[in-house]
């Protein structure tokens, strides 16, 4: 989560904060829909968000440049929507609680943990996954460098690692080693590819 910008933090509702607030939200929406409060509500009351669920709801996304629509329960995470509904299984779920960054995708060009983002909160957003990083047959320089420097071993952290590193180069074209370490400080790799990931990312930056 460290590689989210503060702007992004405000926009994206994490699953944890969603769940924390769920009790209150549900109670008030139930009250609203039952009409208990409606007679008191002034006409100028702020517009409340639509009530979603518990059944499937439509979420429209632009994924890797394609307009997509998925029908999912509101509790569905963006990672689940991508993997189970759009069959984009490059994005991996490892810790399922925002501590390993294997599920990193770009939401409106900023890296986020897709396991901590509800699909409904990504409605109308632009999502880039590891499958959409290359430009057609031309790999992203970070992908090229990962191959050249052997930065992928079992490869399970690699999609998240690649998205974090490519995300870094988007916001900092000339990073140093500490910048790369900071950008990947949330990415867990149990095989221990870190030294090669650092090398590859610095080499990719030079090529770009």
């Amino acid at each position: 989560m460290n590689n989210k910008s503060s702007n992004e933090e405000k926009k994206a509702v994490s699953r944890r904060s969603f769940l924390k607030g769920a009790g209150v939200t549900t109670a008030s929406t139930v009250a609203m829909s039952a009409g208990l409060l409606s007679f008191k509500a002034p006409e100028t009351a702020p517009k409340r968000p639509p009530v979603l669920g518990p059944g499937d709801t439509e979420v429209r996304l632009e994924v890797n440049g394609q307009q997509e629509s998925v029908w999912v329960e509101p509790r569905t995470t963006l990672a689940e929507a991508l993997r189970d509904h759009l069959h984009l299984t490059g994005t991996k779920v490892v810790c399922d609680r925002g501590s390993c960054s294997a599920c990193t995708v770009w939401l409106n060009d900023k890296p986020v943990c897709s396991c901590m983002t509800l699909a409904v909160d990504a409605e109308g957003s632009k999502v880039t996954t590891v499958e959409g990083l290359a430009d057609g047959d031309t790999l992203h320089p970070v992908q090229e460098a990962f191959i050249e420097y052997d930065a992928a071993m079992c490869g399970y952290c690699t999609p998240g690692m690649v998205m974090s590193c490519a995300g870094l180069l988007k916001r900092n074209a000339n990073p140093n080693l500490d910048d790369v370490k900071a950008a990947t400080s949330g990415n867990l790799c149990r095989c221990g590819t870190y030294p090669k990931v650092f090398e590859a990312t610095l080499a990719a930056a030079k090529k770009m």
Partner: protein, 813 residues
């Protein structure tokens, strides 16, 4: 079809009755490189089967093998195209989910699954009576296990998280809901999760009767038929390198200096990024399995046995897998459950463990308490080594640690007593150099203590007592790269103190002769290699391509590698650093035999002798007449059949084995150097730099070997400083069953790592390669511990070396 519930678990109670060494109809003598280039390289003659290919030259005379070669499947990993077991989606596939024990020790009085069965979207429910993976109680006085798969028998629950029942439903969420609808009445029983508590008299017993356990990959200490008293099982007094030696008491009497210490290491969890899991598709004619496994054949064999199917009717596929580190062998409780649920429901069932299940139920490195005592003469000669160790693998076996102390240094008087201690916790499993990592932490610290007492440099002392030629070279080259200069312990002034340390590692050279591969040359020039062996992230696909390409005079990228499927000839399991040394000779031999078939046809066409032909740089040519030349592709177009194919298996080591059919001569030695900074106010240790000097026989692909060494070092840093499974003594729960409270090294904890890979030829096989996975991990924690001592002048005897332990050692708290 036998009923799964009636099937007995077969345990390896009888000694292995395989045939011993193999005789050949025709043999030939070949001269092979032997020794370390630049040090003692020479040639040695071996008598080998006439089918063997000619000797492979040393690496600098080759064009593909030994060269830094890009991982051939990396492109699929960096683009997200690689499909792992967790990514498999089949038509009609259901999702499996477990009900697991909420108690560390309990009996099930009743279980009612009817509400779960009625839950909308649920297709099957099954109750598991015995968990594969842990030790199994045997009938008192008999060898046969008492606990079998009986449908009417409910399991005794022995740890929090033990599987009880499974549900298959249309989605993961529905399966979770259904699990919550299973009603169980428990009778809770007293339990113990702490090593010391479990050893006390009157401690709650984990098993009432004697137990046995099937070994998986490279486990130690769980030998069949060992004694058992209370929660203690053992002692195990030997390893495959033999038993006690000499007279230890007399050895100590004759010693001038005796050092001893009690060392403790923690429980470490594997934390593979992809959890254990399987997709099972039970069809009438075939059981198809997608498994995240280190051994496709072990999954197939387990399931065939448990479900009474012929081996030919079970197919296991592992195209990509997200890390194993020793814990992923066999079908596992999840695999058995997925197959039962698939059979019951008539649908494919996917059962991937969630992270919490992975951390609590899918294996761990047992902890250890080691009492190690070493006696030496004034000149430093080792006189006696005595080791007693206790460790818990929870409800499982395999906590032995003694092989390093037994085998790394020459000492004529040696004994050990290794005990497994049962606790009410998840079963241990093989974990990257099982036993040796724990053992090395103790042994290499005591060796340092002796060096200090003798006023010798730790490297100079090891030069004196270590007979290993490869480690001698590693010490020398490592010291040069590291800039080793002896430093007085605790001599830095200031708050942050720097220290340097060195430690040595040891791992046996293990070969699985049950390793085969097929090489197929197709019309048009495409070449395939096929084997059941799997690539667990180590780069097996790439080294196979390299070996075949070298033999056929092609490039690695010209070879299509099809592995991880039991449809192909059996490969080795990938554990214990056996893979490279086991499968690459089979691959080269198959390529050589296919090549001979093709050359036979060319020789017929050109009217020359086969021996006059060779392949190089994509061409076939006659050595005696260079005008006779044809591209490989063109030659294949003239083949009389569409394909040429050859299958070969791993022959015995050329010089035979040291022990049985698996333990080769030579060891995989390593020497690692560490530099640390210790903040004496906060107690925080930072590893700044590691130099890792390693050998793995003939290095096949230095690029990938570097990655493996980095990985071993980083895992060692985690083991030394951060990782620790914390059990709550009051509830029996693991309190940090996740990837944030279980502390792991991330990018900011990574030291600067430099590798030294030393070529070492042993003339053992047609490739003479060995693995590097385990060796990379053995010495790191010990090297860091020695560096910490060098920094602060106080030794730390317990892992992980967290700030509290540093401050306590400094007597600050």
């Amino acid at each position: 079809m036998a009923d799964i519930n009636k099937k007995k678990i077969v345990l390896p109670l009888a000694p292995n009755e395989e045939f011993g060494s193999v005789k050949h109809l025709n043999t030939k003598k070949i001269k092979l490189p032997h020794g370390i280039p630049g040090h003692n390289l020479t040639e040695i003659e071996r008598e080998v089967s006439a089918d063997e290919p000619p000797a492979l030259a040393v690496n600098d005379q080759l064009s593909v093998v030994g060269k830094r070669t890009k991982r051939i499947d990396a492109i699929y990993k960096v683009t997200g195209a690689a499909k792992y077991t967790s990514d498999i989606q089949l038509p009609g596939m259901l999702y499996g989910k477990f009900l697991r024990s909420p108690h560390p020790h309990a009996k099930i009085k009743s279980i009612d699954v009817s509400a779960a069965e009625r839950h909308r979207g649920v297709h099957a429910v099954h109750i598991l009576s015995v968990e594969p993976g842990g030790a199994v109680q045997r009938d008192n006085g008999h060898d046969a296990p008492a606990e079998t798969y009986h449908v009417d028998k409910l399991p005794v629950l022995r740890y929090v998280g033990q599987p009880i029942a499974g549900v298959a439903a249309i989605s993961d969420k529905v399966a979770r809901e259904a699990v919550q609808l299973i009603k169980v009445e428990y009778e809770t029983l007293p339990f113990v999760v702490d090593l010391d508590e479990a050893m006390k008299k009157g401690a709650p017993l984990v098993f009432e009767e004697k137990v046995e356990q099937q070994q998986t990959g490279g486990d130690v200490g769980g030998e069949a038929g060992a004694g058992q008293q209370g929660n203690l099982r053992g002692p195990s007094i030997g390893s495959f390198y033999g038993g006690p030696r000499g007279d230890v008491d007399q050895g100590f009497n004759e010693s001038d200096i005796v050092v001893e210490g009690e060392f403790r290491t923690q429980v470490q969890t594997h934390c593979a990024l992809e959890t254990h899991g399987i997709v099972a598709d039970w069809q009438t004619n075939m059981l198809t399995i997608y498994a995240s496994t280190q051994s496709t054949k072990s999954v197939r064999n387990d399931l065939a046995e448990l479900f009474d199917l012929p081996l030919s009717k079970v197919r296991v596929i592992t195209e990509y897998m997200g890390g194993g580190f020793g814990a992923k062998f066999g079908a596992g409780h999840f695999g058995v459950m997925a197959v039962v649920l698939s059979k019951k429901s008539g649908h494919p069932v996917k059962l991937m463990l969630d992270r919490k299940e992975e951390q609590t139920t899918a294996g761990n490195r047992p902890n250890s308490q080691q009492m190690l005592k070493i006696g030496v003469k004034k000149d430093g000669t080792l006189q006696a080594i005595d080791l007693t160790s206790y460790g818990t693998a929870g409800i499982g076996l395999g906590a032995g640690v003694g092989r390093v102390a037994q085998d790394m240094y020459t000492c004529s008087n040696f004994r050990m007593a290794q005990y497994d201690v049962f606790t009410h916790a998840g079963p241990g499993a093989a974990f990257r150099a099982p036993g040796n990592v724990q053992g090395c932490f103790a042994l290499e610290q005591l060796i340092d203590e002796i060096a200090e007492k003798l006023n010798l440099d730790p490297l100079a002392y090891r030069d004196k007592i270590d007979q290993s030629e490869i480690r001698k070279v590693e010490r020398k080259k490592g010291a040069e790269k590291f800039g080793w200069k002896r430093k007085q312990p605790g001599s830095d002034s200031g708050v942050v103190k720097k220290g340097i340390g060195v430690a040595q590692g040891h791992w046996p050279r293990i070969i699985h002769v049950d390793s085969s591969a097929t090489v197929r040359i197709n019309k048009g020039g495409s070449v395939e290699i096929m084997s059941g062996v799997q690539d667990i992230g180590t780069g097996t696909k790439t080294i196979l391509a390299q070996v075949v390409a070298e033999e056929l005079g092609l490039k690695a990228e010209d070879i299509t590698v099809k592995i991880g499927d039991t449809t192909y000839p059996d490969g080795p399991g990938s554990g214990g650093s056996v893979t490279a040394g086991s499968i690459t000779p089979a691959a080269r031999n198959a390529a050589y035999q296919a090549k001979m078939q093709l050359l036979g046809q060319v020789a017929g066409g050109w009217q020359v002798e086969i021996a006059d032909l060779d392949m190089e740089k994509g061409e076939i040519f006659a050595k005696s007449d260079t005008s006779k030349r044809m591209s490989f592709v063109d030659a294949t177009k003239k083949m009389r059949t569409n394909q040429i194919m050859a299958t070969a298996s791993r022959p015995d080591d050329y010089g035979g084995f040291e022990v049985g059919n698996a333990i080769g001569y030579d060891r995989l030695g390593s020497v690692q150097f560490a530099e640390v900074s210790v903040d004496t106010e906060t107690g925080v240790i930072k590893v700044d730099r590691v130099v890792a000097a390693h050998s793995c026989g003939r290095p096949l692909n230095p690029l990938q070997i570097e990655s493996q060494i980095n990985g071993g070092v980083i895992m060692g840093v985690g083991y030394a400083l951060y990782e620790d499974r914390i059990m709550d003594k009051e509830t029996g729960y693991m309190v940090n069953a996740n990837l944030d409270q279980y502390k792991l090294p991330y990018s900011k904890e990574i030291p600067h790592i430099e590798n030294i890979i030393i070529e070492q030829y042993g003339a053992h096989s047609s490739t003479d390669a060995s693995g590097i996975g385990e060796p990379a991990n053995v010495a790191t924690a010990a090297a860091i511990a020695n560096a910490v001592y060098n920094a602060i002048g106080v030794r730390i005897y317990e892992l992980p070396m967290t700030p509290d332990k540093v401050l306590a050692a400094l007597q600050v708290i």
